[in-house]
Symmetry: C2
Subunit: 385 residues, 2 copies
C-alpha cells in the first residue's frame, strides 16, 4: 500500500425528508445564496422544500448554472456574493451545480485572477466560503469531495481544481429527490460513478487489499442496480444504493493508498469542451479503448477485475482481459450510453484538434505511470472512432 | 437502506515515518500532554520519535493507562491537565490509550460528575479538549471514531460513551510501529476488528448493498492477512492491510444505514470486567454462540455471509449457516484466540453474576432487534462454556 493522508469532513444526511435538517447545519444569522441549475429543482419542488427548511433565514437565489458549469456564469454569482454580503452557499442540484458552487466559494475569497484557481489546479486557494449541498443527481461524487471541474467557454478549456477548503460542510442525499431525473441522467450517473471507481482501481497492484475490495463492491453494486434504475425509476432501494455508491466512488476513500489513473477523464474533458458530449458519454467512449491500449501496464489488475467483478475464469490471460473490457463496454451500452465516437458524429478529422487541446492543457503524460504520451492518446482516440 | 447521518472528520496520516508530520497538525503554542500505556511506547522508541517530531513544543507525559483503561487512572490525568493548563492531548498507543484519552478530553471540560459521561453514554458531553493519536496497536478503531470504553474497577463496570466531540483531530498509522507488538496483541486485534465488522453486518437485511460489500471486503482481508501477521511479524504489506482494515472496521462507515447488533460486545464487557479476559478473548467466546442462538433472526445475512465470505455453497440452509459459524470459530482459533469459557477457567457458576452485572448495566434487551433478553443472554453464556 502506498503512503497517504486522508480526511473527509463532509457530513452526509441520508434519507427521505432529510432536507428538513439543513437549517440546524447552517450558522444562525447567515446570509445564504442558493445556487441551482436549469430550473428542474424549482419545477419539481426541491427548491421550495429547501426554502421551507430554511425558515426565516435571509436567502438569495442564483439559478442557471449549466451542465459543465462555465467560468463565465460562475463569475456572475461571485459578483452577487460580494454585492449581497453572502456568507454561506447552498448548492441544490447535481455535480455541476456543486462543482460550480465550490468555484464560487473559492473565487469569492481568492486574491488575484480567479481563473488562476483552475490554471494552478487549486494550489493557490487559501480559504473559501462555507457551503452545503442538496444533491439531486447522483454521479460525480462532488457532494463529498473537494474537487471541482469548470469550463471556460471562451477558451474551450475544461479544467479541474482540488482544495481542502472546498469540502461541503454537509450534503443531503435524499433518494426520492432523484425520481424525476430524466433517464439519460441516471444512465450518465451510473457510468460516471463506474469510471470514477475504475480510475482508482485498474492501475497496477500495490497490495491495497481493502481499497480493491471496496472498489469491487462499488462496481458490483453499480452493475446490479444500474439497469434496475432504468426499469423502475421510483424504486427507493435502487435509488438509495446508487446514490450512496456514487458518493463513495469519489470521496477519496478508495483512492487513498493506491495509484490513480484519470487519463480517461482528462481525454474526456477535451471531448466535452470541443464537441459538447455529456461527461459520462466521453468516459464510456474512452475507457474501454484506454484499457485496451494500456492493457500491458494494467495486466494484473485487469485479470483481478475480470475474475472478481465479472466472474470471468475461462480462457487464457489475454482472453480474460479482453472479455472483461468487452463486458465493461456492454455494461455502458446496457445503461444506454453509446461507446463509439462515431455514435456521436465525431470522425477521425477531429482528432488533431483534440490532441492539440490536450497538449495546450499540459496533458502530455497521463495515467498512473505518466506514460500516456500524446502518441498514446492518439491511439486511444483512433481506437474510439 | 436505513436513513443515516454520517460524518468522520479525523485525518489519517498513513505510512512509514508519518509521525514526523504531527507538529504541523497541532496548533502552535499548545501545551501538549502525551498519554501512553505500560511503557512499550517508551521502550521501543515510538515516544522518542514523537518527542522529536514535536520539537520545542511544551510537552508533559502521563503514562500507565491500562488495557481496559480505568476511570481511577484517567481521573489522575484529568487532574494533571488542570494543574498544567494543558490544551492538547496526544495519545500514543492502542485502543485503550486512545479510549482513555477521549475520556480525559471530555472529562476535563465536563460540568458535573465525570462518571456521568459514561452512565449517560456521552449524551451530556458538550465539548472536549482537542487531541490526536499515534496508533501502535491496530484493533479497536478508536483512532478514527468517537467512541470510548472505560472501566471503573471499584464498580466492576465497563461502560461505553459516544460523542462527536471526541473524534481525534488526526491519527498517525505507521505499520512499522506495530512490529514489536506481542503476537497475542496481533491476534486480539484481528479478532476485535473481525467482530466489529460482524456486529454491523450479521443482522437482518435492509438492502444496504455497499455496506454489505464493504463489510465482506474487510472480513475477507482479515481472513487472508491475519494468519500471515503471526507467521511474518515484520511484513510491512500485511501490517499495512491489517492496520487500515481495523480502522475502517469501526469508523462508522460500514454501519451507516444498516442495523447494528453489539450484543457480543456488551456481554463481553462483563466478562472482562468480572474475569479480566482480554477484550478480544471475550468476543471470540461469545460471537459464535450468539450467532448460533440468534440464527433464526440472522438467517438471511448468515446465508449471505456463508457464501460470500466463506465460499460455502453446499448443503441446505441450516448446514451452510452452521458451517459458516464453525468457520468463524476456527478462524479465531487459527488466530490463537480460544473460543470457550472453559479455556479461560470460567465455569457455569459464574453465569449468574455475569447476568446480574448485565442487568445492573441496563443490558436487558440487546441486539439489533432488542430481543436478546436476559434469558437469551443466559443461553448464549451457557452455550459458551
Amino acid at each position: 500500500m502506498l503512503d497517504f493522508n486522508f480526511v473527509n469532513p463532509t457530513q452526509i444526511l441520508f434519507g427521505k425528508g432529510k432536507i428538513a435538517e439543513i437549517a440546524e447545519k447552517i450558522p444562525a444569522g447567515s446570509r445564504v445564496l442558493i445556487t441551482y441549475g436549469g430550473g428542474s429543482a424549482k419545477k419539481n419542488g426541491t427548491l421550495d422544500e429547501v426554502l421551507a427548511a430554511l425558515g426565516d433565514t435571509t436567502v438569495f437565489e442564483f439559478g442557471g448554472i449549466e451542465p459543465n458549469p462555465t467560468y463565465e456564469t460562475l463569475m456572475k454569482a461571485v459578483e452577487m456574493v460580494h454585492t449581497n454580503s453572502i456568507d454561506f452557499l447552498l448548492a441544490v442540484g447535481g455535480g455541476s451545480v456543486i462543482d460550480g458552487t465550490k468555484f464560487i466559494a473559492a473565487a469569492v475569497l481568492f486574491e488575484g485572477d480567479p481563473w488562476d484557481i483552475l490554471v494552478q489546479h487549486g494550489a493557490g486557494v487559501k480559504k473559501a466560503l462555507p457551503f452545503g449541498s442538496v444533491l439531486t443527481l447522483p454521479a460525480t461524487g462532488s457532494e463529498m469531495n473537494c474537487g471541482s471541474v469548470v469550463t471556460r467557454k471562451s477558451l474551450q478549456a475544461k479544467l479541474a481544481f482540488l482544495s481542502p477548503f472546498v469540502f461541503p460542510r454537509f450534503s443531503v442525499l435524499d433518494p426520492e429527490k432523484t425520481y424525476t431525473l430524466p433517464l439519460r441522467q441516471i444512465s450518465n450517473g451510473v457510468v460516471d460513478a463506474y469510471v470514477h471507481v475504475v480510475e482508482q482501481y485498474l492501475t497496477y497492484p500495490v497490495n491495497g487489499k481493502v481499497q480493491d475490495r471496496f472498489a469491487e463492491g462499488l462496481l458490483l453494486t453499480l452493475i446490479e442496480e444500474g439497469p434496475k434504475a432504468l426499469e423502475n425509476p421510483e424504486d427507493y432501494e435502487v435509488r438509495s444504493n446508487l446514490m450512496w455508491v456514487a458518493t463513495l466512488a469519489l470521496n477519496g476513500l478508495i483512492g487513498a493508498g493506491v495509484p490513480q489513473d484519470w487519463a480517461t477523464h482528462m481525454i474526456g474533458h477535451e471531448l466535452t469542451a470541443v464537441h459538447g458530449l455529456d461527461h459520462a458519454q466521453t468516459l464510456a467512449v474512452i475507457l474501454p479503448n484506454l484499457l485496451t491500449v494500456c492493457k500491458k501496464n494494467k495486466r494484473e489488475k485487469l485479470l483481478q477485475y475480470a475474475e472478481r467483478v465479472w466472474g470471468i475464469k475461462e480462457g487464457d490471460s489475454d482472453q480474460r482481459i479482453d472479455a472483461a473490457i468487452e463486458q465493461t463496454r456492454n455494461f455502458f451500452e446496457q445503461m444506454q450510453v453509446k461507446t463509439r465516437l462515431s455514435d456521436y458524429g465525431i470522425g477521425k478529422d477531429s482528432i488533431p484538434h483534440l490532441l492539440a487541446q490536450l497538449q495546450a492543457h499540459g496533458m502530455n503524460s497521463l495515467g498512473e505511470q505518466n506514460d500516456i504520451t500524446p502518441e498514446l492518446s492518439k491511439r486511444i482516440l483512433e481506437q474510439s472512432l
